[in-house]
Amino acid sequence: MATEMFDGKEPLKEQENDINGVEQSLSAKTVKYEGQKGGTQNQATLEDVPFSDPLKPLYLAAVDVGASTAATISQFQTKGQTLAFQGTAYVAGASKTVMGFR
């Protein structure tokens, strides 16, 4: 298990690129993504994957904190993607419920 810090001031799409870049570089998959207290950084917890194993791209989605995530999860499931993690993290500097699908 390793952790990496991401800039929570970035928009969701840029954070998605950053996480995918890190996953491919480290050959690891994100299992947890959460905002850090007292700032706007997000911390990803990553689990190593053998270089030879396939690593699907990760897609991020976000809703307001407290809002239902059911519709978003359902939408991704219809595309064959499953929820990899869900947590409260910063998106463009604001606290959101962020979901990761692959």
């Binding site: 800039d7 970035e10 690129n17 950053d18 570089s25 480290l26 270089f51 030879s52």
Partner: protein, 309 residues
């Protein structure tokens, strides 16, 4: 109301204690000043370098040459330094004791604009320091009251002390030089800097610079700790590279990977085993996550070696 005899005794004790404590409070500002440095000294001979003393010494300095000139210059410098030190510590004491008064704009300005302030310079400021500072105009000291309020007096005081120590060290070192290398005019310029290093504005300025430097360091540390941004193109290349590394590791021929690791200055043996190559690849790639320049370099080397297209 009638007091009993025990009440009377208690009241007398309280009054006596109050009187004692009040007299102590009078000494809170500073201990009793030794006569030799009191302003003015009781015998008016010692501990107070006057404007007349300065003029006399300056005339003597102008006439002197060689070691005599050095001796007189050093005498002047040490005397003025003592005057500045006295004025500073007197001012610093008032700064601590009158912290509450800074909330009154007029008092704040009086203390802030040290060059014209009777509070900060005291009696000595009107004599030798006044002469020393003649010609210094347009100080343009703009002190933001709100900035001051955000700093503690202790922090400003420490900042002023640090400034003063730095300049005093320079002055003392220069005194070893002859008057050609360090003439009185240069010493005067340094003494002016020394004086102003002990002003509120200088303390605030230094604090601001320190805070800015700290913020820059913190920001750099934060950037180092954070992942360096990946573009979509970076993600595509990182994906290709990962697949290539996986293919090489699974294939049993690590020659291209080893060549790539060596090109990237990653320590690896020519005949390294799979586990060592895997480990070295992970170590290198982890660094590329935080360093976009290194990442670009690793992509370029991987292309050059033929690991990726």
């Amino acid at each position: 109301m009638k007091l009993s005899s025990s009440d009377g005794t208690r009241l007398a004790f309280i009054l006596a204690a109050s009187a004692f404590l009040t007299s102590c409070a009078g000494r809170l500002e500073r201990p009793a000043m030794p006569a030799v440095i009191a302003v003015p000294s009781p015998d008016r001979q010692t501990g107070n370098y006057t404007l007349d003393n300065y003029k006399t010494d300056l005339s003597a300095y102008d006439r002197a040459v060689g070691p005599d000139a050095v001796r007189i210059r050093n005498k002047i410098v040490y005397n003025i330094t003592a005057e500045i030190d006295y004025a500073f510590y007197d001012y610093e004491t008032k700064l601590f004791l009158n912290e509450g008064k800074f909330h009154i704009a007029s008092d704040f300005m009086q203390l802030g604009l040290a060059a014209g302030s009777t509070v900060s310079l005291g009696a000595r400021g009107k004599t030798i320091l006044g002469a020393l500072l003649t010609g210094i105009t347009g100080l343009n000291l703009s002190i933001d009251k709100n900035v001051f309020r955000q700093q503690t007096v202790q922090a400003i005081s420490s900042s002023m002390e640090a400034n003063r120590d730095r300049i005093k060290t320079t002055i003392v070192k220069q005194l070893a030089n002859d008057t050609t290398a360090y003439p009185m005019a240069a010493a005067r310029a340094d003494l002016i800097r020394y004086f102003f290093a002990g002003t509120l504005s200088s303390g605030l300025q230094q604090l601001g610079q320190t805070a800015a430097a700290d913020a820059k360091t913190q920001s750099a540390a934060l950037s180092d700790a954070q992942v360096a941004t990946f573009s979509e193109s970076d993600v595509t290349t990182a994906t290709e590279l990962r697949q290539a590394v996986g293919k090489e590791l699974a294939g049993g021929d690590f020659s291209e990977l080893i060549a790539w690791l060596k090109a990237m200055k990653e320590p690896i043996a020519d005949n390294a085993a799979q586990a060592d190559v895997d480990k070295a690849c992970r170590a290198l790639l982890e660094r590329t996550v935080h360093d976009a320049t290194l990442r670009e370099q690793s992509f370029a080397e991987a292309r050059k070696i033929g690991l990726i297209k």
